[in-house]
Each structure stands twice: as C-alpha cells, then as structure tokens.
C-alpha cells in the first residue's frame, strides 16, 4: 500500500481512496448531435497509457473530494496531485496528439 497525497488532507493510505480513471475526458458539447461512433468513444473508450497518466482520484474515506493526479502506470509512482480548480497539469504535454483512427 502506498501513501497518496490528498491535496486537502495530505498523505493518507491508499485504502482511503477511490480510483476514477482517466482525467479530463470532456462531455460532448452537443450530445444529441454526435455520431454513434463519437458517443461510443465518449462512453467506452479511454486512454490506457503505459507511463505518465493524468487520472482522477477521490478521497472517499476522508474529505470525499475529487482531485487529479499524474501517476506513472508502470511504476505506480504519483508524480503530482492537483485540485480540480487548479489548471490542468502539463495539459499540452499529456494531451495525446490523438491520431484519427487509422487507416
């Protein structure tokens, strides 16, 4: 078990937290207008990065607030944690230059 730094409460044991998956997944601007494919991608498809990953966590057995983190999915090391009202961390670096589905 590792200690996870809640941005409000400080370091707490991993069991107090709940994982929320990939961070910064935008809800479609006009949900009624997106294609089935775009909707499927919003509902079912998430990045599955090996390495640095921007993700959401909730301090569910503590202050019960959500926050974002940059964590390495290969080493499990937390690099940084961010309150939701803070600017997106390393947004440009992390935003995957999403190649359109090839070919």
């Amino acid at each position: 078990m590792q200690l996870i730094e809640c941005p409000w409460c400080g370091p707490r044991e991993e069991v107090e937290f709940h994982y929320g998956g990939q961070a910064h997944v935008p809800y479609p601007d006009a949900p009624a207008e997106v294609s089935d494919e775009e909707w499927a991608h919003y509902v079912f498809f998430r990045d599955n990065t090996k390495g640095r990953f921007a993700e959401r966590w909730c301090h569910s057995a503590g202050c019960r607030r959500w926050f974002n983190a940059i964590r390495d999915t290969a080493t499990y090391r937390f690099e940084s944690v961010h309150r939701l009202d803070a600017p997106q961390p390393h947004a440009t670096e992390l935003a995957r230059s999403r190649r359109s589905t090839a070919p």
């Binding site: 078990m1 590792q2 991993e14 069991v15 709940h18 994982y19 998956g21 089935d36 494919e37 499927a40 991608h41 509902v43 079912f44 498809f45 998430r46 990045d47 599955n48 990065t49 090996k50 990953f53 993700e55 964590r71 999915t73 290969a74 080493t75 499990y76 190649r99 359109s100 589905t101 090839a102 070919p103």
Partner: protein, 416 residues
C-alpha cells in the same frame, strides 16, 4: 558442504540434474513470415498450433518480448469453466472446454487437466435469482449446470462454511461438474512444442516496437531483433494490447489492471473442487502439488507493473478464511500479479481491425485462460479465412458502437 578449492571456482548448479531437453528451438528470426503473432502467451501459442494443425499454415512466427508463457499464462489461477450467461459466451467457452477435454491427447503432453467441478456461491437473494437464471440458460445451451442448496454444497465441498452464522451466508451455489483446473505452464509448453514441431518459429526476447504500414495494410513489424515482414499480423499481447494498438492508431476500449493471486504452503488434500464467490470475492482451488491457489479482484487503478498492493491480498485472505475456517492456519507462501486487459462488457474483443491484415485478440481480462484452446482455434480460422470464425463473430471491436454488447458482468458469476 564443500565450497571447493578457492583456485578452482565451481560452476554454480553443477551438482544439479541435467536440464531437460528443450521443447522448442530458439531460432533467429527470418526476414519474413506469412503470419506474425505478437505475444507468446497461451493465446498466441494456441493460435500458432491450430494454424498449423487445422489450416496447414506453418510459415509463422510467434514473437515474445520476454519468455514463452511468462505473462498471464504463468500467473493465472487456471480455472476452466463454460457456465457463462449469454449464448455468445457459452458458445466459445463451451467449445473451448470440449477442446480441453481432448487437449492432452492432441498435444501429446501432460497438462494435468482435472475436471473437479466449480461451485459459484450465492450469498444474497439477488445472487440466488441470477444464479438460477444462469443455470437455466446454461442447460438450454447444453452446458452442464445445476443449482445446489446449501446442504448439497456441503456435500460437494465439506470445508465451505455453510452455517448461517457468518456475515455472508451461503444460500446455495451453481455447480458445473465438468469445470476444473489445469497446469498452466505445461499447457503453454505443450502448445509450444507442437507449434515448433510443425516448423513454426517461436522467437523469445523479441519485442515488437513498431509497425510498417502501407495504406490499409501492415507490411511488417519492427522489433528489438530487426524488422520482420508479415503477410498477416495477429495481436495476442493481453495486458499490453493498448501499447501496440496505440502504435497503429487504433483505439481499443480496454484498461490494463494488475490482478493478483497467491498460494499457500503445501497442504494435504483438503479442497476437492473449485469454489468461487462473487460477493465476498474469493476463488480458490488446491493445486496438484497441494498448495491452495487463490485469486483476488483487480487492483482498482490502471497498472502495467505486474505487482499490486498488499491490502488487496489481505482482504482476499480475510474473505477466504471466513468461507473456509480451516484455512486460518495456512501460511501464505507467495503472491504475484499479472496485467489484465479488462473490457467494458467483460467480454473479449477478437477479430478485424481497421487494417485489412491485422487481427485483434484482447479484452479477456481476468478470465482468458479457460479460452486458450477455443480462441486459438477460432483466431487461426479467422486468420486462415480472412473472416471471423462464428465463435468470435459476436466479439467485434465495433460492438461498442453498434451497442451489441455481450454483458457478462456479474452474470458470469465472478469474472475468472
């Protein structure tokens, strides 16, 4: 102990018995193959075997970044069963179970397949209703299944605590007598040996690092041992699938998670069957040598580390001791983890991709060992004919767009 004279250092292990003959050779990769299979786990090796055996296709390479069967194939808890809820699932898992029943003969190699049955326990009224429904669905699909009341559960497995005085009393169980376990590394070696005998190259220490493409086709794979041209490519990389599909620009809805398991020290035979419980999340059998083999649920976060957190093991053991009081004195010997590729509907994703000659096989998550012969059979057929085999046809990537999901969450008891 004789450390030997200091001037003549002795080879470590020189006193051990001879290593057995290798079951496959370790070839240099050729420049080109008709079929390149990425991933030398159970699924890749079974696909290679059935390509040769059923379709006469032998100009094939299996590329493995580590050693053969060193991924989930050697890390799983080896539960084999076919009592899934939906027709699509029971078709492929039941065909796979039938292949298991003849596999030792087919491979000419011992795989210690033991049909000792599986109990899927029900602990709530909802569990009971779902379980009875699954039993009826199984019967309609020709899958052996029974609903057992608690006293019948006790007859099949006397060490399960069926008293009402526990936190999650056992209200009954589904029972599939033909289910069981096998020895996973022997299964990998058996497939590898047969594929090798057929002339297929099994290339270890060879990581695929990129793809050469030409429009809608992949022309070859870049590897740590050079570029290899490929007529067809099949991805059998389990937990690492996304790393490969990212290189191809294909988005696949899987998430990689650590999944842990553990064994106890060796014990006298105490546990005659396989017991799984969704509600308290434990599944346990006793291996041939005597160790209790238990699995946990996935660690919640995405992870590629082949290790997980100890609190998951601790909870898992607490649940096991509650259900099997006799385990309280057993000692934990070893824990480990694999990386499983979970999909949104807990069903696999097998078949075509946006590339004409690339086939996908992933999303088996926590339960793909039992499918090893079945998916190898179907994927080999798919590669040979360029069209999905009927057993994998429902498990397309585009079902997430069409909505034709095969939702086995919960319905299939616990997900292993």
């Amino acid at each position: 102990m004789n450390p030997g004279p200091s001037h003549a250092p002795r080879t470590p292990g020189a006193d051990l018995p001879e290593h057995p003959d290798f079951l496959w050779r370790d070839p240099e990769p050729k420049r080109s193959y008709d079929v390149v299979i990425v991933g030398g786990g159970g699924h890749g090796l079974a696909t290679a075997h059935y390509l040769a055996k059923n379709h006469g296709i032998t100009n094939v390479a299996v590329l493995e970044k580590g050693w053969l069967g060193g991924g989930n194939m050697a890390r799983n808890t080896t539960i084999i069963r076919s009592n899934y809820l939906w027709d699509e699932s029971s078709a492929i898992y039941e065909q796979s179970l039938k292949l298991w029943e003849g596999l030792e003969e087919d491979l000419g190699y011992p795989i210690l397949f033991s049909q000792r049955g599986v109990l899927n326990l029900a602990h709530t009224l909802q569990d009971v209703r779902d379980s009875v429904r699954r039993v009826e669905a199984n019967k309609l699909n020709g899958v052996d299944a029974e609903w057992l009341e608690p006293d019948e559960v006790r007859k099949v497995c006397p060490i399960v605590n069926t008293s009402t005085d526990i936190r999650y009393p056992v209200l009954g169980a589904t029972y599939q007598p033909r289910a069981g376990i096998a020895k996973h590394d022997y299964v990998a070696w058996g497939f590898a040996r047969r594929a090798h005998e057929a002339g297929i190259d099994l290339i270890q220490d060879c990581e695929v690092t990129g793809f050469a493409t030409d429009g809608n086709r992949v022309t070859g794979v870049q590897t740590t041992r050079g570029t290899i041209a490929a007529g067809t490519v099949a991805l059998c990389a389990a937990g690492h699938t996304s790393v490969l599909t990212d290189m191809l620009g294909i988005r696949v809805p899987v998430q990689s998670h650590p999944l842990q398991a553990l064994v106890s020290e060796l014990l006298e035979p105490v546990h005659p069957t396989v017991v799984m419980s969704n509600a308290v999340h434990v599944y346990v059998s006793q291996a041939h040598k005597g160790e209790l083999v238990m699995g946990a649920g996935v660690d919640s976060y995405n992870g590629y580390g082949q290790r997980g957190a100890f609190h998951v093991i601790e909870r898992q053991m607490a649940a096991a001791v509650e259900l099997f009081p006799v385990f309280a004195r057993a000692h934990l010997l070893r824990t480990w983890a694999g990386i499983v590729d979970t999909s949104p509907d807990a069903s696999p994703i097998v078949g075509r991709t946006p590339y004409d000659n690339v086939y996908l096989n992933c999303g088996w998550g926590t339960g793909g060992f039992k499918a090893t012969p079945g998916v190898g059979w179907a994927l080999a057929h798919t590669i040979a004919h360029g069209e999905p085999h009927a057993n994998v046809a429902p498990f397309t990537l585009d079902r997430f767009v069409t909505g034709a999901l095969v939702d086995e969450h919960g319905a299939a008891a616990v997900a292993h």
